[in-house]
């Protein structure tokens, strides 16, 4: 119960902080809109305008990953800069319970981007979205957010030893947009890319959202996205235990 409370309070507190940041909030909304606009123009002008609706959902979800990748990479570095990392690590609560809501809050900010992209597509490009299965859609969006937040958690932990971790997170923005099939069907990629796509929760998250909106089998994709999210969290906790033990032994937490 205390763990759930800590997760909730951490999420609310970081949501408040992120929504007051021009970089994390406003840019998180505006930046994916540029990519969505470019993609909308491209699909609108192409030989077959039918994929426009397909692209609009993908572009909308791009913002969730966009809001997470760089920010999650920098999550620990930010605590290091503000001098709070040591305090959080030595707190009685497990550090994973402190870090996980941070990255989920980052992914949640992406919902603003998702809504603005869909509204932008509707108002400027006339893309009308009718959700075929509203219940599945309502389940698919938070499942995608949580699973992407969990992936962000794994990234944050994996990059704990890197001073410039934000750059590594930033580097992963395009590849995940690409191989998760946000804008491009996975069938266009070489066969060796498919297993990479399958290992990424965003692939199943966008599959679930598309399935719910356009018709398909969203519940299987929701389950897979959540399962992968749980897997990332578990891997992140194990990695975190190891990293913190090493940091205590070598006094390397501050990287100074």
């Amino acid at each position: 119960m205390r763990a759930l409370r800590l997760l909730w309070v951490g999420w609310v507190m970081h949501m408040k902080m992120l929504t007051r940041s021009a970089f994390n909030f406003w840019l998180g909304i505006i930046y994916p809109l540029f990519f969505a606009t470019a993609a909308f123009f491209m699909f609108q002008s192409g030989d077959d305008p039918k994929p426009l609706l397909y692209a609009s959902l993908g572009a909308a979800v791009m913002g969730i990953w966009g809001a997470t990748s760089t920010a999650a990479g920098a999550a620990l570095a930010r605590e290091r800069w503000t001098g709070t990392l040591e305090l959080l690590v030595t707190a009685p609560a497990h550090f994973a319970l402190i870090l996980l809501p941070v990255t989920i809050a980052m992914a949640t900010i992406g919902i603003y981007s998702m809504i603005s992209t869909l509204v932008w597509g509707r108002l400027v490009f006339g893309i009308e979205l009718e959700v075929g299965d509203p219940l599945a859609f309502v389940l698919a969006v938070p499942a995608t957010v949580v699973s992407i937040g969990a992936l962000g958690f794994l990234l944050a932990v994996a990059f704990v030893r890197f001073r410039q971790a934000w750059a590594l997170g930033n580097m992963l923005e395009y590849p995940v947009w690409l191989v998760s099939g946000f804008l491009v069907p996975l069938t266009l990629f070489p066969d060796w890319v498919r297993p990479i796509s399958w290992a990424l929760a965003p692939t199943w998250g966008i599959g679930a959202i598309r399935g719910a909106a356009l018709g398909g089998a969203p519940y299987g994709d929701i389950a897979l996205a959540l399962s992968l999210g749980a897997g990332y969290t578990l891997a992140g906790i194990l990695l975190l235990e190891r990293a913190l033990r090493t940091a205590r032994v070598k006094a390397s937490l501050s990287l100074s």
């Binding site: 406003w26 930046y31 540029f34 990519f35 491209m42 030989d47 077959d48 491009v184």
Partner: protein, 261 residues
Amino acid sequence: MIGVRVFFVGGLISYRALFGWLSPWVFIPSLLVAPVFQILLFVYIGRSAALESDEFYVIGNGLQYASIPCVFAMTNIIAGERFQQTLGSILITPAPRLPLFVGRALPVVLNGFFVAAFGLVVGGLIVGIDVPASAFAPLVLVTAVSALSCTGLGLLSAGLGLIVRETAVLSNVIFGILLVCTGANVPLDALPGWLSTAAQGLPFTHGIEAARLLADGARFGEVARLVGAEALVGATYAVAGYLLIRVLELYSRKHATLERA
């Protein structure tokens, strides 16, 4: 003589001190890996939309990605000094302002050129585009002029940095505008008329068009006007940027806004 020294030595030292991306841990992922994936992203979107050839997106995105080093680095000449609390010290020196600010642009142009050239070569090799050998030298020139042109816009952005606190947001917005409007990914005739017209005043629009024509076998003489237009656009932004910096420097003295922005 002092002006020349401020231009070259001051520019280089300032660039090394302020451009925080010179660490390999930042430079490689942000300026070498990311542009290649941006190229791949749009190549695949282009294939999916059945709109243009792979070459179209390799050239468009390879050149356009130079805006990251050009705009961010130039904007940082103000924001970085403010962050390190040296902006006031810089602006009370008697150093002539033209070499002081424009000198900082030279390393930015060289870096922007390198990043764009890297993206074009590596992206082109991965995707497998066919560019005639005779186009290599003119393409180098077009890439350099495009980097120069975008650095001019960066100088304008640097000027805005004197009154805008969130310069990283500003730089990202400029990057997004260049992504959509310069013809890097969307053919200009597919944009609304007003946007297509506005694009004529943006860096990269003419450079990207010239590079595509060269890659398709045009001779340099056939694209010289486009290259000239690209240089003119950049020069206009550079002059406007320099004037804006001077005006806002005076404004900051009068209203004490230097650290407040």
